[in-house]
Amino acid sequence: MRALYVFAALLGAFMLATAASGARTATPGVTPTEIVIGGTVPMTGVASGFKTVGLGASYYFKYVNGHGGVNHRKIHYIIKDDQYDPAQTSDKTRELVEQDHVFAIFNSLGTEHNLATRPYLNALGVPQLFVGSGGTTFGKDHKQWPWTIGYQPNYRAEGTIYGRYVAKTTPKARVGVLYQNDDYGKDLLAGFTKGLGKKAKLVVSKQGYNVDDPDVQSQVARLKSAKVKTLMVFATPKFAIQSYRFAFQLKWRPKVFVNVVSSASNILKLAEIASSKKQVEGSVSIVFLKDPTDPRWAKDRGIKLYRAIMKRYKDKGINANDVYNVYGMSVAHTFVEALKKAGKNPTRASIMKAATHLTLRNDPFLLPGVVVRTTPSDRFPLDQARLERWHKSRWISFGGLFRVR
């Protein structure tokens, strides 16, 4: 294990050094008129609901290109379908690097998927920018993987927030967790346990499920029979909706915390239809993006821009209310800002330097007050959020903006 870290660190550092010293001649993916970047996203298959993470970014780039691009270069963003299979992620990423000669890998989705390509990209000195996963390791392990940086608030930190909140506000409640049996779900669970601290024994039941299960009825029943009063839903949208419905069918109404991946308004509205408004009322989550269906942002400049871009550039069949599009635009906006800072003739080293020295206050798609901030040793660009509560079929934020760490 250690041998690898040493090897990759040395190789990566070597590449970084030669790149920085200008020993390279032409930078792949950069021409006088174009910057070519690429990423993998599950366009088809079980996780295709996340494809708008990539598509949303592509629409923002089209908008930027329509206004002249960056330093007279248009951004060409190639999205390849990995069908949520890490082996295909590996293959397609290689294709992007070796055949399409991209400047950087950008916004690839999935925890295991980015873990699979991380050693390869770092060994070759290809920037792995703004990874589409809340895996803590993408921000934390930068010494071994200097070419990698995450974007969204990491899952462990999110779980910790819920843990601290539960320990503070309902210190005696019996707690249960429904979690997806993979890195994403387990990261949230680990953070939650950490956030509970001494109150960790409040957790009386933990039920895992796999992404290819048809339903989680059995898990929900077990949580109810453990007399859980507070339910943590660390699950993807399909199963989050099911957890509300099956709880409703079992005449059980716990207080629910639902993780941000499943917190989009349209998902909760589907949950209301599947169970009842009362069942979903009071659910708590965190938020860092502006939800396009939230009436609060109806007159907001950022959301107006979002709607204009969607109207002009979106593909047929894509839902403009899908909040993952907003996420995609936010991360694309951050990339564009980093690209501007990378100089008139960007290199892989200069974009990494720009990406690790960000202080952006003007992202139109993030909550007001959120600052996209990075340093070489703090590679969590987004680490602020607010708590929000579902009330009368919409999200209402409460409390202040706090750090999700």
């Binding site: 050693p119 390869y120 047929k316």
Partner: protein, 336 residues
Amino acid sequence: MRRALGIGLWVAAVAAGLAVYVFLPRLMSDFHSRDLAHAGVLFIAIVGLNMLTGYTGQISLGHGALMAIGGYTTAALVVHEHWRDVWTIPLAGIAGGVVGLLIGIPALRLSGLYLALATFAFAVAMPSLLRKFSGLTGGTQGLRFLESAPFQVTGLKGTVTVFGHSMTQNHFLYYLTWGIGIVGFAVAWLIVRGGFGRAFRALRDSEVAAVSAGVAPAANKTLAFALSGVYAGVAGSLLAIQTEIVNPLSFTVVLSVLIVVGAVVGGLGSLPGLVLGALFVEYLPTLAGHFSTRAGVPDFVYGAAIILVVILLPGGAGGLLRRAARPLTSWLYTRP
């Protein structure tokens, strides 16, 4: 005279095939070699499945799961025991063969549709089994060579030197995979031409008749299963070596389906068309994608192509080749 000509043509065909194998990478981009190597993986599994389904008539929709056995054997040896990746291939083949044999035994009692159902269920259940034994398999994360055992990966630095020749990693993977594929093809050809092949075909055509002719059904049918398992195991191993990662999601029932489709399109019960079967399965989705990038089109085209081939060309590509060559072969092999 004609016989000599017939043999000469055979030799020429084999020589041409080998020449294509050796020189093809020069004609295309380095990266295409990787795609071809992936097609080679499917080819090996298809050749193995053909021996089972084409020659003994036993349907298996579970060979992707046997590939998983081979792939995970390789991954476990590389990551846990630090074996060099290529040296694990024989063991992966053996593992596949053993599991194939174990499946072949209960398969004796199942036939046709029932066997298809049972092997289908095996393929669907495999990812769960892979996730469960996470100490060995890495669970949902799978096993990643580059992270846990990078020095065991051949071609880590991008070039590989074999017998003094230096080549890129992609080329190495192509030569390795298709080299094994050609050897496997030759072995299958020998088996099929020999006594086993005759016994297999007899069992496929009429088991009762075959038994009364002295063919031992149980031994031959399980042997066929074991053999096809060896091929699938080797194919799985090569897949793991190429992608440097194994993960439950890489071995879903879709993989099993692709192998069967490739065998049917290539032509069951004959060998020559199988290369085309592998190429069909590998490249058709990409070609369909060029047609239109709108969601759903590649799937539709792929499915429609499968149906059309099966309806219009029941013997698959192999049958077509044979029909096309018939004027020549009948001229060669009939007495004047």
